[in-house]
Symmetry: C2
Amino acid sequence: MKKPVILTGDRATGPLHLGHYAGTLKNRVALQRTHDQHLLIADMQALTDHADRTGQVRDAVLEIALDYLAVGIDPDRTVICLQSGLPALAELSMLYLNLVTVSRLERIPTIREEIASRGFGRAVPAGFLSYPVAQAADITAFRAELVPVGADQAPLIEITNEIVRRVNALAGEPVLPEARALIPEAGRLPAASGRGKMSKSAGTALPLSARPEEIAAFVRSMYTDPGHLRVEDPGQVEGNVVFAYLDAFDPDRVEVAELKARYRAGGLGDGAIKRRLDALLQELIRPIRERRVTFSQDPAQVLELVRRGTERARDRTRETRDLVFRALGVGAT
Amino acid sequence: MKKPVILTGDRATGPLHLGHYAGTLKNRVALQRTHDQHLLIADMQALTDHADRTGQVRDAVLEIALDYLAVGIDPDRTVICLQSGLPALAELSMLYLNLVTVSRLERIPTIREEIASRGFGRAVPAGFLSYPVAQAADITAFRAELVPVGADQAPLIEITNEIVRRVNALAGEPVLPEARALIPEAGRLPAASGRGKMSKSAGTALPLSARPEEIAAFVRSMYTDPGHLRVEDPGQVEGNVVFAYLDAFDPDRVEVAELKARYRAGGLGDGAIKRRLDALLQELIRPIRERRVTFSQDPAQVLELVRRGTERARDRTRETRDLVFRALGVGAT
């Protein structure tokens, strides 16, 4: 039985954080046993809004690879590869750009919102407007059947499948498979303040390399229930960041349910739930941090792993590129 | 002394015609002696408005290569290469898309006009809007210093040089040379009707494979001066298509000047000037047509020449790609 092919990855803008771990990295570690998983470090896509920060993008490649290895991604089970090392992705992107209209791209909700939130206005880089097409190239080049994405990114899978159907119609045969979004059950982790989600750009991220005192400070700063002044007062669980994190990380669901009931009824202090969460996060992050330190002592070896993964991915993506170009009759020689 | 590098070429939408010969092919035959000339058969660019006609694009590759060889392009002096065989062009395109805004592309006069004339409206393919960026990738990938273009295409060289300056500024060193437009002295040939220019899409093109009777019919159909009814009447030279063609093709400038004077004064019939032009065009096209027939008897050999040219171009363009990516710090492994 052929394992289903998964493509996922990360924009190379900086190291990953606890939000990535909860939202996707943990899942990937599990998926690599049952799926043919590819992780794409998207350094070209990072340039779509970081064109003047190529140094940051380059540094992020190593950081992200370290994060992958530290959380338990096994390069023998998962192909870790670098987007800029895969010319077929650019070739397919340039081909697909002809199959999608500018107005179709402008209608994608995330594109519209990101153009607004980044303040691009009319000065949106052409590469930014076209990144959904580049993403379709990534997905189809790996002939991925499953693509783990957040719920807000489902429209990006839709445009990928529009391109897939257009290619197959032009070719007169099913050259490319359609992709299916794999939307995680867990929502995104809130920031410690409870305002917005954990985000590197907002400065609210807890890195996977966080030291014990950083973790402790992060938990201490968490928003709970401002009306819950004394231990014996009833407290609010909804919107309480500590409980959101316990929901995300505490393996003992029964105990968490009991804690919530006690907190609601009154008689459970913030200190107690924060101590529980701190212990949990310390235990979660410690081995990740330690493995990360070990791997970071030999960056050349880490980049060599990425290089080898990129070579494997190069074969696969070039094969798809040839398949698509041949099926469409592009390239005469 | 290193010869200056020229890049030019043709969109792969169909065979070339007499208008191309007068406007550029003749020049290219001369330039290949003094310049390091590259001819790019732009099959990827042809898809920007022919995405659903890939068969036509593929057939055009052979037709154009035949035209090149027939007019005297020497594959030992000129590199004839195929755009879809050069992944570095797509890679540089995807990089450059991040350096240009959508509104900058929309402001390019030819893009604006072509969007209107093709009736794209808001449904313009993203690949069509971005083709100036792809063209900048073509030009810079060959590190071309001279680019022969029509006067209306000078803004496309301007945007190329904006990208060149942006790349060099980001790199902190002059990685890429700026390109200079080489604008031909001769304007474009009129259609036989005198309305508009010779154009394949308008159905007014005389192909380079035209048979003697096609050439004769083409010349017979030419618009002259509707007021010039009898031989002894004075006639108009301005707007007279036959004289436009004599200006373009008759090597005897003195004789043409005398003919114009006699035509203006009265006493020179349309029949006489058409016979002269017919003889000229027959003599011009006959050897081209004959060489074209010879080459077309072995299409595999012609495509092999293109394949070999594409390989040479692949080395050069990959070198530029590596140079630019390295200078910008893109691609860690």
